[in-house]
Protein backbone atom coordinates (compact mmCIF):
# COMPACT_ATOMS: atom_id res chain seq x y z
CA UNK A 1 0.00 0.00 0.00
CA UNK A 2 1.48 3.31 -1.06
CA UNK A 3 -0.81 5.66 0.92
CA UNK A 4 -1.98 9.13 -0.06
CA UNK A 5 -1.31 9.77 -3.76
CA UNK A 6 -1.16 13.30 -5.20
CA UNK A 7 -1.56 12.02 -8.77
CA UNK A 8 -4.82 10.25 -7.90
CA UNK A 9 -6.21 12.96 -5.65
CA UNK A 10 -6.81 15.53 -8.44
CA UNK A 11 -10.66 15.60 -8.75
CA UNK A 12 -11.02 14.39 -12.36
CA UNK A 13 -8.37 11.70 -11.90
CA UNK A 14 -10.03 10.58 -8.68
CA UNK A 15 -13.26 10.04 -10.66
CA UNK A 16 -11.41 8.19 -13.43
CA UNK A 17 -9.67 5.91 -10.93
CA UNK A 18 -12.90 5.31 -8.96
CA UNK A 19 -14.73 4.33 -12.15
CA UNK A 20 -12.01 1.97 -13.31
CA UNK A 21 -11.65 0.46 -9.84
CA UNK A 22 -15.35 -0.48 -9.95
CA UNK A 23 -14.61 -2.85 -12.86
CA UNK A 24 -13.40 -6.42 -12.41
CA UNK A 25 -9.67 -6.92 -12.95
CA UNK A 26 -10.06 -8.26 -16.49
CA UNK A 27 -12.67 -5.70 -17.59
CA UNK A 28 -11.89 -2.68 -19.75
CA UNK A 29 -14.12 0.30 -20.42
CA UNK A 30 -14.55 2.11 -23.71
CA UNK A 31 -13.03 5.62 -23.75
CA UNK A 32 -16.29 7.18 -25.09
CA UNK A 33 -18.38 5.42 -22.47
CA UNK A 34 -16.11 6.65 -19.67
CA UNK A 35 -16.18 10.17 -21.14
CA UNK A 36 -20.01 10.15 -21.13
CA UNK A 37 -20.13 8.66 -17.66
CA UNK A 38 -17.82 11.29 -16.17
CA UNK A 39 -19.04 14.13 -18.39
CA UNK A 40 -15.53 15.09 -19.42
CA UNK A 41 -14.37 16.36 -22.81
CA UNK A 42 -12.17 14.22 -25.07
CA UNK A 43 -9.18 16.47 -24.41
CA UNK A 44 -9.69 16.63 -20.67
CA UNK A 45 -10.11 12.88 -20.25
CA UNK A 46 -7.19 12.22 -22.61
CA UNK A 47 -4.86 14.53 -20.67
CA UNK A 48 -5.70 12.97 -17.31
CA UNK A 49 -5.37 9.46 -18.73
CA UNK A 50 -1.92 10.34 -20.05
CA UNK A 51 -0.87 11.41 -16.57
CA UNK A 52 -2.24 8.19 -15.05
CA UNK A 53 -0.63 6.12 -17.77
CA UNK A 54 2.74 7.78 -17.14
CA UNK A 55 2.38 6.85 -13.48
CA UNK A 56 1.72 3.25 -14.55
CA UNK A 57 -1.81 3.28 -13.11
CA UNK A 58 -3.85 2.88 -16.30
CA UNK A 59 -3.31 0.89 -19.47
CA UNK A 60 -4.93 1.44 -22.85
CA UNK A 61 -5.82 -1.05 -25.57
CA UNK A 62 -6.53 0.29 -29.05
CA UNK A 63 -8.75 -1.85 -31.28
CA UNK A 64 -10.69 -1.58 -34.51
CA UNK A 65 -14.37 -2.39 -34.04
CA UNK A 66 -16.44 -2.23 -37.24
CA UNK A 67 -13.40 -0.57 -38.89
CA UNK A 68 -13.48 2.24 -36.35
CA UNK A 69 -10.70 2.79 -33.83
CA UNK A 70 -11.73 2.39 -30.22
CA UNK A 71 -9.75 2.68 -27.03
CA UNK A 72 -10.41 0.52 -23.97
CA UNK A 73 -9.03 1.40 -20.55
CA UNK A 74 -8.33 -0.50 -17.38
CA UNK A 75 -6.42 -0.13 -14.13
CA UNK A 76 -3.06 -1.85 -13.94
CA UNK A 77 -2.25 -3.88 -10.83
CA UNK A 78 -0.06 -0.98 -9.67
CA UNK A 79 -2.96 1.39 -10.25
CA UNK A 80 -5.39 -0.75 -8.29
CA UNK A 81 -2.96 -1.00 -5.37
CA UNK A 82 -2.25 2.74 -5.46
CA UNK A 83 -5.97 3.48 -5.50
CA UNK A 84 -6.64 1.16 -2.56
CA UNK A 85 -3.76 2.77 -0.70
CA UNK A 86 -5.18 6.22 -1.41
CA UNK A 87 -8.61 5.20 -0.12
CA UNK A 88 -7.01 3.79 3.05
CA UNK A 89 -5.08 7.04 3.52
CA UNK A 90 -8.29 9.08 3.22
CA UNK A 91 -10.00 6.80 5.75
CA UNK A 92 -7.02 7.22 8.08
CA UNK A 93 -7.40 11.01 7.90
CA UNK A 94 -11.07 10.63 8.81
CA UNK A 95 -10.21 8.32 11.67
CA UNK A 96 -7.48 10.52 13.12
Amino acid sequence: MSGFDDIIHQPARLKIMSSLAALAEDEKVDFSHLKTLLRLSDGNLGAHLLKLEEAGYVSQEKLFVDRKPRTFLQLTRTGREAFQGHVQALKAILGS
Binding site: G3, F4, D6, H9, P11, L14, K15, S18, S19, A21, A22, L23, A24, D26, E27, K28, V29, D30, H33, L37, L38, R39, E61, V65, D66, F72, V87, A89, L90, K91, I93, L94, S96
Partner: protein, 198 residues
Protein backbone atom coordinates in the same frame (compact mmCIF):
# COMPACT_ATOMS: atom_id res chain seq x y z
CA UNK B 1 0.75 12.67 4.61
CA UNK B 2 -0.78 15.79 2.95
CA UNK B 3 -2.48 18.63 4.82
CA UNK B 4 -6.01 17.45 4.16
CA UNK B 5 -8.82 18.19 6.57
CA UNK B 6 -11.14 15.41 7.66
CA UNK B 7 -13.96 17.19 5.81
CA UNK B 8 -11.95 17.12 2.56
CA UNK B 9 -11.16 13.44 3.11
CA UNK B 10 -14.84 12.72 3.75
CA UNK B 11 -15.85 14.51 0.54
CA UNK B 12 -13.21 12.64 -1.46
CA UNK B 13 -14.40 9.28 -0.10
CA UNK B 14 -18.02 10.21 -0.86
CA UNK B 15 -16.97 11.12 -4.41
CA UNK B 16 -15.16 7.79 -4.82
CA UNK B 17 -18.22 5.86 -3.64
CA UNK B 18 -20.61 7.87 -5.83
CA UNK B 19 -18.48 7.49 -8.96
CA UNK B 20 -17.92 3.77 -8.44
CA UNK B 21 -21.65 3.29 -7.88
CA UNK B 22 -22.42 5.21 -11.06
CA UNK B 23 -20.10 2.94 -13.05
CA UNK B 24 -21.85 -0.13 -11.60
CA UNK B 25 -25.27 1.36 -12.41
CA UNK B 26 -24.13 2.02 -15.98
CA UNK B 27 -22.93 -1.60 -16.26
CA UNK B 28 -26.24 -2.89 -14.87
CA UNK B 29 -28.20 -0.69 -17.30
CA UNK B 30 -26.08 -2.00 -20.14
CA UNK B 31 -26.31 -5.63 -19.04
CA UNK B 32 -30.02 -6.07 -18.35
CA UNK B 33 -31.93 -2.77 -18.26
CA UNK B 34 -33.21 -2.96 -21.84
CA UNK B 35 -34.01 -6.69 -21.61
CA UNK B 36 -36.24 -6.08 -18.59
CA UNK B 37 -38.03 -3.31 -20.49
CA UNK B 38 -38.53 -5.51 -23.58
CA UNK B 39 -39.94 -8.46 -21.63
CA UNK B 40 -41.94 -6.18 -19.33
CA UNK B 41 -43.63 -4.69 -22.40
CA UNK B 42 -44.25 -8.18 -23.83
CA UNK B 43 -45.92 -9.29 -20.59
CA UNK B 44 -47.95 -6.10 -20.15
CA UNK B 45 -49.23 -6.35 -23.73
CA UNK B 46 -49.66 -10.16 -23.58
CA UNK B 47 -51.53 -10.40 -20.29
CA UNK B 48 -53.38 -7.13 -20.88
CA UNK B 49 -54.39 -8.29 -24.37
CA UNK B 50 -55.48 -11.70 -23.03
CA UNK B 51 -57.66 -9.91 -20.45
CA UNK B 52 -59.32 -7.85 -23.18
CA UNK B 53 -59.53 -10.54 -25.90
CA UNK B 54 -59.07 -14.02 -24.39
CA UNK B 55 -60.22 -15.57 -27.69
CA UNK B 56 -57.11 -14.11 -29.44
CA UNK B 57 -54.60 -15.02 -26.72
CA UNK B 58 -52.82 -17.70 -28.80
CA UNK B 59 -51.94 -15.51 -31.76
CA UNK B 60 -51.24 -12.50 -29.52
CA UNK B 61 -48.66 -14.38 -27.42
CA UNK B 62 -47.08 -15.98 -30.50
CA UNK B 63 -46.52 -12.55 -32.06
CA UNK B 64 -45.39 -10.87 -28.83
CA UNK B 65 -42.96 -13.61 -27.79
CA UNK B 66 -41.50 -13.68 -31.33
CA UNK B 67 -41.01 -9.90 -31.17
CA UNK B 68 -39.46 -10.23 -27.70
CA UNK B 69 -36.98 -12.87 -28.90
CA UNK B 70 -36.13 -10.75 -31.95
CA UNK B 71 -35.57 -7.64 -29.80
CA UNK B 72 -33.47 -9.64 -27.31
CA UNK B 73 -31.30 -11.07 -30.09
CA UNK B 74 -30.87 -7.61 -31.65
CA UNK B 75 -29.85 -6.09 -28.31
CA UNK B 76 -27.43 -8.96 -27.65
CA UNK B 77 -25.79 -8.66 -31.08
CA UNK B 78 -25.53 -4.85 -30.77
CA UNK B 79 -23.97 -5.20 -27.34
CA UNK B 80 -21.42 -7.76 -28.63
CA UNK B 81 -20.53 -5.60 -31.65
CA UNK B 82 -20.16 -2.33 -29.78
CA UNK B 83 -19.28 -3.28 -26.21
CA UNK B 84 -18.90 -0.54 -23.63
CA UNK B 85 -17.12 -2.93 -21.32
CA UNK B 86 -14.77 -5.61 -22.70
CA UNK B 87 -13.43 -8.63 -20.96
CA UNK B 88 -12.14 -12.06 -21.84
CA UNK B 89 -15.19 -13.70 -20.26
CA UNK B 90 -17.98 -11.51 -21.74
CA UNK B 91 -18.41 -13.37 -25.05
CA UNK B 92 -18.46 -16.73 -23.29
CA UNK B 93 -20.91 -15.33 -20.73
CA UNK B 94 -23.22 -14.21 -23.56
CA UNK B 95 -23.34 -17.77 -24.92
CA UNK B 96 -23.93 -19.20 -21.43
CA UNK B 97 -26.78 -16.76 -20.78
CA UNK B 98 -28.45 -17.68 -24.08
CA UNK B 99 -28.19 -21.39 -23.28
CA UNK B 100 -29.39 -20.83 -19.72
CA UNK B 101 -32.55 -19.02 -20.87
CA UNK B 102 -33.21 -21.60 -23.58
CA UNK B 103 -33.04 -24.34 -20.92
CA UNK B 104 -35.30 -22.38 -18.54
CA UNK B 105 -37.94 -21.89 -21.26
CA UNK B 106 -37.81 -25.55 -22.32
CA UNK B 107 -38.26 -26.64 -18.69
CA UNK B 108 -41.03 -24.09 -18.09
CA UNK B 109 -43.10 -25.19 -21.09
CA UNK B 110 -42.43 -28.89 -20.44
CA UNK B 111 -43.54 -28.64 -16.80
CA UNK B 112 -46.64 -26.61 -17.71
CA UNK B 113 -47.50 -29.25 -20.32
CA UNK B 114 -46.90 -32.50 -18.41
CA UNK B 115 -47.78 -31.70 -14.80
CA UNK B 116 -51.26 -32.47 -13.52
CA UNK B 117 -52.33 -28.94 -12.64
CA UNK B 118 -55.19 -27.47 -10.64
CA UNK B 119 -57.31 -24.99 -12.60
CA UNK B 120 -57.03 -23.46 -16.04
CA UNK B 121 -54.59 -20.74 -14.93
CA UNK B 122 -52.13 -23.15 -13.30
CA UNK B 123 -50.00 -23.57 -16.47
CA UNK B 124 -49.52 -19.77 -16.51
CA UNK B 125 -48.41 -19.87 -12.86
CA UNK B 126 -45.93 -22.68 -13.62
CA UNK B 127 -44.55 -20.86 -16.68
CA UNK B 128 -44.12 -17.56 -14.84
CA UNK B 129 -42.68 -19.21 -11.71
CA UNK B 130 -40.04 -21.20 -13.63
CA UNK B 131 -39.08 -18.11 -15.65
CA UNK B 132 -38.82 -16.12 -12.41
CA UNK B 133 -36.66 -18.90 -10.95
CA UNK B 134 -34.39 -18.05 -13.89
CA UNK B 135 -34.27 -14.41 -12.67
CA UNK B 136 -33.41 -15.53 -9.13
CA UNK B 137 -30.58 -17.78 -10.36
CA UNK B 138 -29.36 -15.08 -12.76
CA UNK B 139 -29.36 -12.56 -9.90
CA UNK B 140 -27.29 -14.89 -7.72
CA UNK B 141 -24.90 -15.61 -10.58
CA UNK B 142 -24.47 -11.96 -11.58
CA UNK B 143 -24.47 -10.84 -7.93
CA UNK B 144 -27.48 -8.61 -8.62
CA UNK B 145 -29.83 -8.41 -5.67
CA UNK B 146 -32.32 -6.50 -7.83
CA UNK B 147 -32.71 -9.36 -10.34
CA UNK B 148 -33.24 -11.90 -7.57
CA UNK B 149 -35.77 -9.64 -5.86
CA UNK B 150 -37.66 -9.18 -9.15
CA UNK B 151 -37.80 -12.98 -9.49
CA UNK B 152 -39.05 -13.52 -5.95
CA UNK B 153 -41.46 -10.55 -6.04
CA UNK B 154 -43.13 -11.49 -9.32
CA UNK B 155 -43.43 -15.14 -8.21
CA UNK B 156 -45.07 -14.06 -4.96
CA UNK B 157 -47.45 -11.70 -6.78
CA UNK B 158 -48.32 -14.45 -9.29
CA UNK B 159 -49.15 -17.00 -6.57
CA UNK B 160 -51.17 -14.43 -4.63
CA UNK B 161 -53.17 -13.37 -7.69
CA UNK B 162 -53.80 -16.99 -8.65
CA UNK B 163 -55.24 -17.75 -5.20
CA UNK B 164 -57.33 -14.60 -4.98
CA UNK B 165 -58.68 -14.02 -8.47
CA UNK B 166 -60.78 -15.60 -11.19
CA UNK B 167 -58.98 -16.46 -14.45
CA UNK B 168 -59.78 -13.27 -16.38
CA UNK B 169 -58.99 -10.69 -13.66
CA UNK B 170 -55.83 -12.74 -13.00
CA UNK B 171 -54.66 -11.79 -16.51
CA UNK B 172 -55.03 -8.11 -15.65
CA UNK B 173 -53.23 -8.71 -12.35
CA UNK B 174 -50.37 -10.34 -14.25
CA UNK B 175 -50.18 -7.46 -16.72
CA UNK B 176 -49.73 -5.06 -13.79
CA UNK B 177 -47.58 -7.10 -11.38
CA UNK B 178 -45.86 -9.47 -13.83
CA UNK B 179 -45.26 -7.08 -16.73
CA UNK B 180 -44.92 -4.07 -14.45
CA UNK B 181 -42.58 -6.05 -12.19
CA UNK B 182 -40.13 -6.30 -15.09
CA UNK B 183 -40.83 -3.03 -16.89
CA UNK B 184 -40.58 -0.63 -13.94
CA UNK B 185 -37.23 -1.89 -12.54
CA UNK B 186 -35.85 -1.92 -16.12
CA UNK B 187 -36.93 1.69 -16.68
CA UNK B 188 -35.65 2.73 -13.23
CA UNK B 189 -32.22 1.18 -13.93
CA UNK B 190 -31.99 3.06 -17.24
CA UNK B 191 -33.19 6.37 -15.85
CA UNK B 192 -31.19 6.24 -12.61
CA UNK B 193 -27.75 6.08 -14.11
CA UNK B 194 -28.56 8.71 -16.72
CA UNK B 195 -29.98 11.09 -14.12
CA UNK B 196 -27.19 10.65 -11.55
CA UNK B 197 -24.63 13.44 -11.56
CA UNK B 198 -21.02 12.26 -11.58
Amino acid sequence: MPTLTSEEARLALADIEKTGKRMKQAMAADAFGYYLIVWGLVWVAGFGGTFLRPDRAGILWTVLVSLGILATATLGIASQRRPKIRSSHHRAAGRQITLFWTAILVYAYTLAWILPLRGEMAPVVVLVSVIMLGYVIMGLWARSLLLSLIGLGVTAATLLGWHLLQPLPFMLWMAVFGGGGLLIPGAVIQLRWRAAKP
